[in-house]
């Protein structure tokens, strides 16, 4: 469809219709002193010069192609297969908007349907929506689903302390003013079994993270059973990459599974965009927020895809909708779908196992260093906590001298974990890079 700009004649006609002589009159509501401010821009330069300037600016940033990263805490440096960009940058996907008109959007709709199907397979759940903005908002929507499932009669929400701090904060932001009692995350030493003790008949949702923010792999079966017994919903926040190796929550009683899809073929990009995974059981589908693509047949009996169960949504249900979300992260959902199809079941497993084994090795090597000790007691996936002999910021400054990005300072979020570093190891890290990290850490003074 060609873009046809207005002609001068058309502009004059429009102005005449509204009784305006000159287009400047339309800006008169803006005070004169701020109407057309002097922008004080530098002189225009050629494309060649500006490219050189921007190139220099970008090189002022250190990135993961020029540093070895052991930083995780929710955003991970995984390998991104080149296939993903080839598909994402096809104009049809790159510029596609929400597929309200199925007759001209079968490509987008099918892509989302494949994404939904893959998320169900990965998490072991029955239905997936077309995605949310990110894992944190997906968790907030899980809380809202539970509240609506209980018709707002239950107001207590149990959040495990080892769910990502940002996700818990977003839940609180989203639900402010709703009179909720959000508890359970005051102390990071409260394990799953102690969480069970907090479940009562006023609890609407119990949420845990898997693997948790500190890297632990817990068996949450008992938590799920206790939640079910009390009539509460059980939500598991996952790292989808870990599901290449770990038992999916659908197999241990989850009612809702949410997570952040960044590890599935999406770059870290200083924090976003990412994609929020949301899967649940069929019986909750009408309380689920977000877009949903369904498979159907057209009038000639040919398979087709459409946005479905739209009476859930706020443009139809208005104030009775459970959420105001009316969009998805189409391009990032597509990226994660392409990642999974390129990796395949065995590829994803292989990558997860590589990350897992490299993390175990790194943990062992660091644990052996004077002044450092591994804090985790049970099994962990690809992240682990190390108690450090000095503040984490000092250690990271030292590591930076070797172009190593150190781990996350847990003292930021857990006062009881001051001087503890969260280290992530992905499949991208080589044995040599682990040895370089160990060597650099060995140089740190300790008593």
């Amino acid at each position: 469809m060609a873009y046809i700009p207005h002609t001068d004649t058309e502009r004059s006609e429009m102005l005449a219709t509204i009784g305006v002589k000159h287009i400047d009159e339309l800006y008169e509501a803006i005070p004169a002193e701020v109407r057309f401010p002097d922008l004080e821009l530098p002189e225009a330069v050629s494309e060649m010069e500006i490219m050189a300037e921007l190139q220099a600016l970008s090189e002022a940033n250190l990135d993961v192609s020029h540093a070895t990263s052991f930083l995780g805490a929710g955003a991970y440096n995984h390998y991104i297969p080149s296939m993903i960009d080839h598909i994402l940058r096809r104009n049809e996907f790159y510029t596609a908007y929400t597929p309200y008109q199925p007759e001209i959007s079968q490509g987008t709709l099918q892509a989302i349907f494949e994404y939904q199907s893959l998320m169900c397979q990965l998490t072991g759940m029955e239905v997936s929506n077309a995605s949310h903005y990110d894992g944190a908002t997906a968790l907030a929507e899980a809380v809202i689903l539970a509240l609506n499932q209980h018709r707002l009669k239950r107001k207590r929400v149990l959040l495990s302390a080892t769910i990502h701090p940002h996700a818990r904060e977003v839940v609180r932001t989203y639900t402010q003013g709703m009179g909720l009692d959000i508890v359970g995350d005051e102390d990071c030493n409260v394990g799953p079994d102690q969480l069970i003790g907090l479940i009562d008949e006023n609890t609407t949702l119990v949420a845990v993270q898997y693997p948790d923010f500190l890297g632990h792999i817990h068996d949450y079966t008992a938590v799920g059973e206790a939640a079910q017994e009390a009539g509460a919903l059980f939500c598991v926040v996952v790292n989808p990459f870990a599901l290449g190796m770990l038992k999916p929550p659908g197999e241990f009683g989850a009612d809702i599974v949410v997570g952040d899809g960044q590890p599935l073929g999406i770059p870290m990009s200083f924090g976003g965009p990412t994609v929020g995974i949301f899967t649940t059981k069929d019986k909750y589908v009408r309380k689920m927020a977000g877009r949903l693509v369904g498979e159907t047949v057209d009038k000639d009996g040919k398979r087709g895809f459409v946005l479905t169960l739209t009476p859930r949504e706020q443009h139809i249900r208005r104030d009775k909708a459970t959420s105001n979300i009316c969009t998805n992260q189409g391009l990032m959902a597509l990226a994660s779908a392409v990642y999974l199809s390129v990796m395949g079941k065995s590829g994803l497993r292989k990558a997860a196992e590589l990350a897992y084994h490299k993390a175990q090795y790194a943990a062992e090597r660091i644990d052996g260093l004077g002044g450092f000790s591994l804090w985790n007691e049970g099994p962990f996936f690809h992240e682990f906590v190390v108690k450090c002999p000095k503040p984490v910021s000092e250690i990271n400054a030292h590591l930076l001298e070797y172009d190593i990005l150190g781990g996350y300072d847990l003292g930021n979020d857990y006062p009881e974990l001051k001087d503890h570093m969260l280290i992530a190891v992905t499949e991208m890290i080589s044995k040599e890079e682990i040895e370089d990290l160990v060597a650099a850490l060995a140089e740190v003074d300790h008593d």
């Binding site: 018709r151 009408r286 009476p311 859930r312 139809i316 249900r317 009775k320």
Partner: protein, 130 residues
């Protein structure tokens, strides 16, 4: 279009059948026609619950809308129609019979006086069509 004469009606397209101090309620033929194919009926009420005139007792979802269904008069719920969960299409095929939505004990029979009879309700529907 059906307007059974033994029923009373609200302007929001609900019907009520009263037998002694028990009542049954649902949505009218006109309503199901306006909604088109009903795909889901959700009961918001439970047995023993007291609902006032105008309180929603169910939500009906069709391919193009989601609408609340209101109590035509107040009462205490005795039964909700479970059959509608698996067969929501009954609302379209049998709105006055198999697709009843709620049964309740009447709280105040004088509230019936404010409702429309079949003729008045039919006129109300015709006025909206013009």
């Amino acid at each position: 279009m059906d307007f059974p004469s033994d029923l009373k009606y609200t302007e929001s397209d609900e019907w009520i059948r009263v037998e002694g101090d028990s009542a049954t309620a649902g949505i009218t033929d006109y309503a199901q026609d306006q909604l088109s194919d009903v795909v889901y009926v959700e009961s918001l009420a439970e047995p023993d619950q007291d609902l006032a005139k105008g309180d929603p007792h169910s939500t009906v979802e069709s391919v193009k809308a989601a609408a609340d269904v209101y109590m035509p008069i107040g009462g205490q719920v005795t039964e909700v129609n479970e059959a509608l969960v698996d067969s929501p299409e009954l609302v379209n095929s049998d709105p006055y019979g198999a697709a009843w939505m709620v049964k309740f004990t009447v709280a105040d029979a004088s509230e019936l006086d404010g409702l429309l009879d079949a003729a008045a309700y039919q006129k109300h529907c015709e006025e909206r069509e013009s």
